[in-house]
Amino acid sequence: MSTLAELLPARPAWLRLSAKMRRAGRDWPDDEGPRWLFVVKTMLAAFLALWIAFRLGFDSPRSAMMTVFIVALPSSGMALEKSIYRLLGTLIGCIAALCFIGLFPQQAMLLFIALALWSGLCTAGSAMMRNARSYGFVLAGYTACMIALPALNQPLAAFDLAVSRVTEISVGILCSAFINDVLFPRHQSEQLVQKIRGLYLNFATLCHEAMQHRLAESELERRHMRFATEVATLESQRSAAVFEAGEIRIRSRQLHAFSVAAMATLTTFHTLHQLMERLRRTDNSPIPALMQPLFDEFSAALQLTDGPARTAAEVAETRDKFEALSQRLPALGEGIRQARADRFDAAQKLDMETALELLQRLADECRSLTAIYASLPTHRGQADEDSAALPAAYSPTTPPGIVVAAGLRNAFALLVLATAWYALNWPSAAGAVMIATIFCGLASSSPVPDKVIRSTTLGFALATPFAFFCAFFMLNRVEGYDMLVLSMLPFLAFGAYVATWPRHAGIGIGFNLMFAQMVAPENLMRFNAISFINDSAAQIIGLLIAGLMFALILPEHRQGSPRHVREALWHETALACITVSSHLRHEFENRMRDLLSQLGGAGTPMDEATRVIVNEAMTLLELGHAAIGLRRALTARARPVSEVQSGIDTLAQYFRHPGPDTRQAAVATIDAAMAACRAQGAAELITDLHLIHTCLLDPAFDTAALASVEENGHAA
């Protein structure tokens, strides 16, 4: 069969080319446009900062320029956030350095020990935060080294060094802030809106598909992981958007309320889903089939005419649907009870009641989630009153083992290298010490430390020959600032362009930093090939040493290490059974989701061990929430049931020391607590007790599973 295209004569080559060009031209503004805008922005800010630094006669104008490269981020909010933390970190680091120099003047070993302790503490802080603040911590640590090490034998020079460092960095920050925020604003708040829409859409699709049985188990885990990562990014973007001018700051609490509500709703949904799956798997109970009409109603409420709501305006309709549904649910549940209750045994009745209760809870939570979402665009919604009761921030949780290891590694690296520098007679070695300390610190808070170090090393190595060429074959013929710009611009623009590719960003930033560092534009240029080669070798050796430190000192203790995350998950669940706090539910949810997001932070496909941990985490999330609910109901009761309290205690014992015996003990005391509740007529406690009971007895929740997976992995 011949198509129309074949019948027509072939178009000439130039016409085809021009069509291709036109298509490329049409895609350009969406695809390449923002990248080139970023390059233009960065170059403008960098050369503006350099010019001001030249005019004011700073000692090392390149620091101002390098600051611009470091804080160059795609959105205004992120750039401002990083700038502020860079400034604060530098100030604190300078003050610390002056204190150390004052305490131990010309005492090399004492000074090194003090610096190692300080920078270890700062690195531990940065590993704990894992957000923009962690950069400030790293900076406080290495600025102290930067000031104190060169001033080791000339303590009087330290003050001038500190002042010029702060001045140079402030100039860089002011230029970059002015260009990024005033001349070419790219608002974080707009991206935040997209993020929220995506989050809600994913949530609604997840519920809809799971209720219609269109979701495989492995797919469900993947979605949960992605959800945790999305919440973590939403929270970090929210904190960046606060630095932009505008109204996002008033909405900040509402946005937090939204992500908290989304997390809570997803957990309730997951609990219900797991209950149904367990019933289907184990005893072919009739309950899932009976509940299906209710689930159909529920997923119908989530849908508008064409899929779930996409904007806050559309979601108002969904909110009304849930309003109606949650009022209708008791009657619907009663209908099911009436129809079939006489044919159920006691255990099935309990399952039925638990499922109905969970569905009611889920509908209520969906209603409040959609209400918060719908009220986001209004100036101040009802969410304001709800969110006033919330903890203000999403607190990142890093397993303590990783935090301590990061601090120790950094302190050790600094101490060894500084001592080696002192013993060696290599003037450039101070640069190696500094770079090794900086990247030990920076990589500690990154989920992929190896990649950070590797790509920066590549960028540094790549920049060295270009810097050599630029410094010794171009800059020596240059007259005036405009010629200097012309000779440096092509190299730096290339580096900035490479930095816009997410996968190679490290190479681009490393390239620009090394280039600016080695070309070292100054008012009185110094052309010294020997010191150039020495210094550039020192920088690269410093990076290699940082990589070596990561490989040698506690290599297992890195961000997102599955073993540590798993331990922290159990620990958090044990805390949920003990801690007294008015926001316990939110805090627990936050921490668990944050830990989960760390597992997925590396962006690698999940291996078998990670999948087992994710599964375990989801069950722990259910258990923890049930325990918290139980504790809350218990304190609300006038007459406490002592068996329930001892049940919670044995449960906490199990979370602290997971094993078959403690699990048996927990099951036994929970059984006793259920019997006691029935005897005393404490019906509101039974749902949560039953949930804990079924979770503990679930064969899929097996603490030995991970061990067997790991053994297989080692055998293979």
């Binding site: 002015f178 925020d181 005033v182 604003p185 932009e244 001018a245 700051r249």
Partner: protein
């Protein structure tokens, strides 16, 4: 406020504390503008914000520096 003053043995320009003060004032003003919805009537918020800072700094230094 003198043009330069002696702070723990270091000469500090008098404009520095004025600038820090005006940054503090500016943070307060910025918060108020966001809270009371002033930014809704502003075309270029970031430009407005930096102009506000310059005005505050100019005013304070004209008033405080001799």
């Amino acid at each position: 406020m003198p043009r330069e003053f002696d702070f723990l043995g270091a000469l500090v320009p008098g404009l520095l504390p004025v600038f820090l003060l005006s940054v503090l004032v500016h943070i307060g003003l910025d918060w108020a503008c966001g809270h009371y919805g002033v930014y809704r009537y502003v075309w270029h918020r970031a430009l407005f914000r930096i102009c506000l800072l310059i005005c505050v700094f100019g005013l304070l230094s004209a008033l405080l520096i001799r």
